[in-house]
Amino acid sequence: MKIRFEGLTKRFPNRDKRIKTEVVAVDHFTFEIPDGKLVGLLGPSGCGKSTALNLICGLETPTEGRLFFDEDDVTDIPAENRGVGMVFQSYALYPHLNVKKNIMFPLQNLKGDKKMTKEQMEQKALEAARIVQIEELMDRRPNEMSGGQQQRVAIARALVKMPRVLLLDEPLSNLDARLRIQTREEIKRIQNETKITTVFVTHDQEEAMSISDIIVVMKDGAIHQIGKPQEVYDQPKNLFVAKFLGTPPINVFNGKIEGGSLVIGNEKVLGKDFVKDTPNQEVFVGIRPEGLLLREGKDGKQTGSEGAFTTELLAIEVMGRDTSVVFSHTASEIAGTRHRAIVSSDNAIDPEKKNVAFDLNPKKVFVFSKDTQERLL
């Protein structure tokens, strides 16, 4: 089912009652989530992504705007009648009920001709449990299970009534690193199997990138970019999106466009092919860690001192598959930042060296306006 936002806005009164201005948690959302997709709402904490989720499920009512499920306007329909399933960050499993009863709980609420017999409910609960692979835990209480298992029960409980939309609020934040990777794959698999339009909220870009069909990058209640994860990563619309996506983070420098070349410090790093007809101005230059290339030396050995962009070498970190070169540069956006370049581990770099120079891969270099922080190139 499609979810369509039309100028959806939520404003809260300020917590400090003396301040009259309202806090805008969700600012004029207008976009559409296509049917059957897994969508990640991504943004730093306090950006309004959980509020957006609560607006979809009906726990919050919007200040303005409309919300549609397919063609139905659900803006004024209370949470209980929207037919959404929600998995809470803390899972919210009822501690006094075992897994089976937890999963059956939503079914027992059904009234009228939707009412089910006990056998039907047990059947449904078992099906849901099978999807998340916890059918052997049906008699356990929530406190007798690990975080990952509780998470699965919560998903089963949200799925059991065949919701039109499945919502997950920070689904992986309470799990340890290994379980997180496993669970995110699991969420992807469950979504693939059920084909239910799924929206999840996260502040972890890696989590969002890895499983979403579409990511929505938010900041301060506003949408900054919507798109497929790779698209958003490769073509960030502004400095915030570029900085928010990617680990290690993008390296940002002060630079300028001058006479048809891109200049960082006093080096011309990229030429006319890249800059084209952009007028001269001060800019921010963002370079992805993988966009910094070491040039091979004359004797085939890596000298690291050639290349267009000279930096001060701080350290070499060997990761096995690849090597990270830690460096600093006087033109850093924030002075003293430890920048990183990811290079192949085939490169042998002498860690005693003072400087290291790189060539730049133009596809991995983004130029942003100093005033608007919007992308220029």
Binding site: L59, A79, E80, R82, F88, A92, F105, P106, N109, K161
Partner: protein, 322 residues
């Protein structure tokens, strides 16, 4: 000291059996130390709890024990037989049970309703909480006086309640010296009113401690308000309800001072005596001086309270497992 001996036990393998016995000794010394720390508390409990309990048990089997001469006629079940055939005691048992059966469930239910109401209001919540807690910090005698004004018939007035009854063309009823049901009504009314604040306090905090997220989850799953209450709120606060019921039972079985506050010290003639009142009368009352009867009655009360508490605990355990 013990540290040194401990180390010496590892001085060499040649010393044979001796270090082993030393270690045992050190261990014993340590547990002795623990007992030493416990001693003040144990002494206190022993003198003021355990010894009197045993003494009461002994008295209850000694026929016609005289505390002045420390003599008795013999031993046996005589005291129990006497107490169980004493109409005053039977009346006291009846009164006590009535108070327990009426006030404990009613006060808990009322407290739950009040707490739910308090929990759902937003404005002036603290004000209402304070109002409901006031009886808890009010002097018993002052409360008794208020009840006198409300219920007592005097040559000048029939009391507040009778004035209200008169509006509905009924009464007047003499609540203090009148029929048994009227006196019992006042008694239960008073008891409930006195125990309510504490229960409201406990239950409001129990209700507030239920995580909001469960209600959110329930709402999204289309759970009705009533089902939210019966399937989420009640199970979550049930430990507190059980606690209140058990302490309520124990408290109501020990009722005495409230009865005195309303009906005066001669509870037997008012027909409103309780088991504890009977025990007191047997010891110190006008017809007192019978520690053996008092002891027997006290032990009967102990047996009743003990049984009910055990039953309560068993029920609460069973429901919490379910």
């Amino acid at each position: 000291m013990s540290e040194i001996t401990d180390k010496s036990s590892f001085s060499g393998p040649t010393s044979g059996n001796k270090p082993a016995s030393m270690a045992v000794f050190v261990k014993k010394l340590r547990s002795l130390k623990a007992w030493l720390y416990l001693l003040p508390a144990l002494l206190f409990l022993g003198i003021f709890m355990v010894y009197p309990l045993i003494d009461v048990l002994v008295y209850s089997f000694e026929e016609g024990y005289n505390s002045a001469s420390q003599t008795s006629f013999g031993t046996g079940w005589f005291n129990y037989a006497y107490v169980l055939h004493d109409p005053y005691f039977l009346q006291a048992v009846k009164n006590t049970f009535l108070i327990v059966i009426i006030t404990v469930p009613l006060s808990t239910l009322l407290a739950l309703l009040i707490s739910l109401a308090l929990n759902s209001i937003k404005k002036l919540k603290e004000v209402f909480q304070t109002i409901f807690f006031l009886p808890y910090v009010t002097n018993t005698l002052a409360v008794g006086l208020v009840f006198m004004i409300m219920f007592k018939k005097t040559p000048y007035t029939d009391g507040l309640i009778n004035m209200i009854l008169a509006i509905f063309k009924s009464g007047p009823v003499d609540f203090i010296d009148g029929p048994y049901w009227a006196k019992m009504f006042v008694m239960c009314f008073y008891t409930i009113w006195v125990v309510l604040p504490f229960k409201v306090l406990i239950l409001t905090s129990a209700l507030a401690s239920v995580d909001e997220v469960y209600y959110k989850a329930a709402r999204i799953d289309g759970t009705s308000r009533f089902r939210q209450f019966t399937h989420i709120t009640l199970p979550m606060i049930s430990p507190m309800i059980f606690y209140l019921v058990i302490t309520g039972f124990i408290g109501a079985f020990k009722a005495y001072s409230d009865e005195v506050a309303i009906f005066g010290t001669n509870l037997n003639s008012a027909g409103m005596n309780t088991i504890v009142g009977y025990v007191y009368d047997m010891l110190y009352g006008d017809a007192g001086g019978y520690p053996s009867y008092a002891a027997a009655a006290a032990l009967i009360l102990f047996a009743i309270v003990f049984t009910i508490t055990v039953v309560n605990l068993l029920i609460s355990k069973k429901t919490s497992i379910r």
